[in-house]
């Protein structure tokens, strides 16, 4: 059974069918990628998988359980964490607090815990701090813990997004254009980090623009064009697929 499965997934905004009967499987332990030209519906597919949108029809299955239309916080609790294409950090909070918030699903303290601060609550808070620190260290941000998220460089902000996602201890990590806006050297570092995360046993599903980045990293690649899946396979298979070439470069006039 695939870890995540999109089953004839469809969403319509007014007259536009942004994602059209897409079938897709993300196998456990692999790095799967979803690529396609701008506006192909990649991010929308992510938003469907994480509960931000409810599908018009079709299903999202996680470990065989139907999660379509469930609230994002619930889906995060099941073990899916994501990053955002247009970085959505908690800008006016510190780097450390951003990551601590990522730990939310894996901790319990509520209002009364906040006020009473019993020893169990203090212990939980220490654990959160420890986990947050580990997540920052993984992404190489531990020295910046005290900075405001807004003051980080663009590449660092992208890394912080991943650190925050890692803090929620997911089994499945969804990365929405993780390399966007990064220079070559930063991309190289990012590939290393993503591979390291995979070695930790996580499954990764990413949306990306940069073909080179995707092809070097992924086990499987699916291609979306105008909301429809036009190809699915290993990077080698997809690269030579005529439909994919046409979608990216335009059809040749014969």
């Amino acid at each position: 059974m695939a870890l995540l499965e999109l089953n004839k997934l469809t969403i319509q905004f007014g007259g536009l069918i942004a994602v059209n009967k897409v079938d897709l499987k993300v196998e456990k332990g692999q790095i799967s990628a979803l690529i396609g030209p701008n506006g192909a519906g990649k991010s929308t597919a992510f938003n469907l998988a994480t509960g931000i949108y409810s599908p018009t029809s079709g299903k999202v299955l996680y470990k065989g359980q139907d999660i379509s239309g469930k609230a994002p916080y619930y889906i995060n609790g099941l073990g899916i964490a994501r990053t955002f294409q247009n970085i959505r950090l908690f800008k006016e909070l510190t780097v450390l607090d951003n990551v601590k918030i990522g730990c939310h699903s894996r901790s319990k303290a509520g209002i009364f815990g906040a006020i009473t601060r019993l020893s169990a609550i203090k212990k939980e808070e220490r654990e959160i701090e420890e986990k947050a620190y580990q997540a920052l260290k993984l992404m190489g941000l531990e020295k910046k813990y005290d900075e405001f998220a807004d003051n980080l460089s663009y590449g660092e902000q992208r890394c912080l997004e991943i650190a925050r996602a890692m803090a929620s201890e997911p089994e499945l990590l969804l990365l929405d254009e993780p390399a966007a806006g990064m220079n070559l050297q930063e991309k190289g570092v990012l590939v290393e980090k993503i591979n390291k995360i995979r070695e930790m046993g996580l499954t990764i599903f990413l949306v990306e623009h940069d073909m080179k980045f995707v092809m070097g990293l992924s086990d499987r690649v699916a291609v979306l064009d105008y909301g429809v899946k036009i190809a699915d396979g290993t990077p080698e298979e997809v690269q030579v697929n005529a439909d994919v070439i046409a979608a990216y470069l335009g059809k040749e006039v014969v």
Partner: protein, 305 residues
């Protein structure tokens, strides 16, 4: 428990009590608007619910003040739940209007209900909000707010303020958290209202209009949305300065309006916004005693190394 009472000249003592009540009110609003970013324009309505409920407990049931206080807080909290549960799903500006509408409804009902005296209001409420009682409650509320701010719950509220969609994607049930927070904030407003009732001793619906909500909002904005020391400072400044300078209320309102515009334009984070007061205090302690708090904190973070 009459430690502080009578230490100050009566006039100053009266102002000090008023300042204390406004600190409590403003801290409740700061939780809602400053920390969580949900603009409430009906804070005075919850204050009035607390005031009337506590007054009824005192007048009709003759119960001790502590019960009147709790009744005020709980009544306001219940209304906070009733109005917050549906409206907090709305985006910021809709919420602002809904809370404002609710405030006007409450005022209109108070005007029309005989049980609370209608337009005449309630009179003969016993004087119970002494300086000592007010001071103790101010300390408790500040202490509670400081604890809430630095907790998992408080961080979730901050996350909602910063980006509610991202917060939701990181496991925070934003609707539920907003409701819980709103109930806590309105509970505190109710306590403030109960104190107010037992200081002024007379309640009239028109004391709790939109302008009262704006007055409280101004304290939070002046000090810095989300900053506890800022809110306390804002409440002190805006309560005591008009008293001392004896502004006519017309000019006072004009000043409040101008203050909102100017603060948003030039210092949207308030006088103390972006200033970490605890850090400043630690730094000054360090410079005085030579002990190293900040490093200790760092070590704690790096403990997992």
């Amino acid at each position: 428990m009459t430690l502080l009472n009578g230490l100050l000249p009566p006039y100053i003592e009266s102002i000090a009590i008023t300042v204390g009540i406004y600190i409590i009110m403003a801290l409740g609003l700061n939780l809602i608007t400053g920390v969580t970013g949900q603009l409430s324009l009906g804070h005075a309505a919850y204050m009035s619910i607390g005031a009337y409920a506590s007054a009824i407990v005192s007048l009709q049931l003759g119960m001790p003040f502590i019960f009147a206080l709790l009744a005020g807080g709980i009544a306001a909290g219940i209304f906070g739940l009733i109005i917050g549960y549906p409206t907090l799903r709305l985006t910021g500006d809709y919420l602002a209007i809904a809370t404002l509408g609710f405030g006007e409804i409450v005022k209109s009902l108070l005007f029309n209900m005989p049980i609370v005296g209608g337009a005449m209001g309630l009179a003969g409420i016993p004087y119970k909000s002494t300086l000592t009682v007010t001071f103790i409650l101010v300390v408790i509320v500040i202490w509670m707010m400081l604890r809430v701010e630095r907790s998992r719950f408080g961080r979730a509220l901050l996350a909602i303020r910063e980006d509610d969609i991202a917060a939701e994607c990181y496991g925070i049930n934003t609707s539920l958290y907003k409701v819980k927070m709103f109930v806590l904030g309105t509970f505190i407003a109710g306590i403030g209202g109960a104190l107010w009732a037992h200081k002024i001793m007379v309640l009239q619906p028109r004391d709790f209009g939109f302008m009262k909500s704006i007055e409280i909002l101004n304290m939070v904005v002046l000090g810095g949305l989300g900053s506890i020391p800022g809110t306390v400072l804002g409440a002190i400044v805006l309560t005591s300065i008009p008293e001392v300078l004896r502004f006519s209320s017309d000019y006072r309102m004009l000043l409040y309006g101008a203050l909102l515009v100017i603060m948003m334009r030039f210092r949207p984070n308030g006088l103390l916004g972006g200033v970490d007061v605890t850090k400043l205090v630690k730094k000054s302690i360090k410079s005085i005693t030579g002990s190293n708090f900040t490093n200790k904190e760092k070590k704690k973070v790096k403990g997992g190394d």
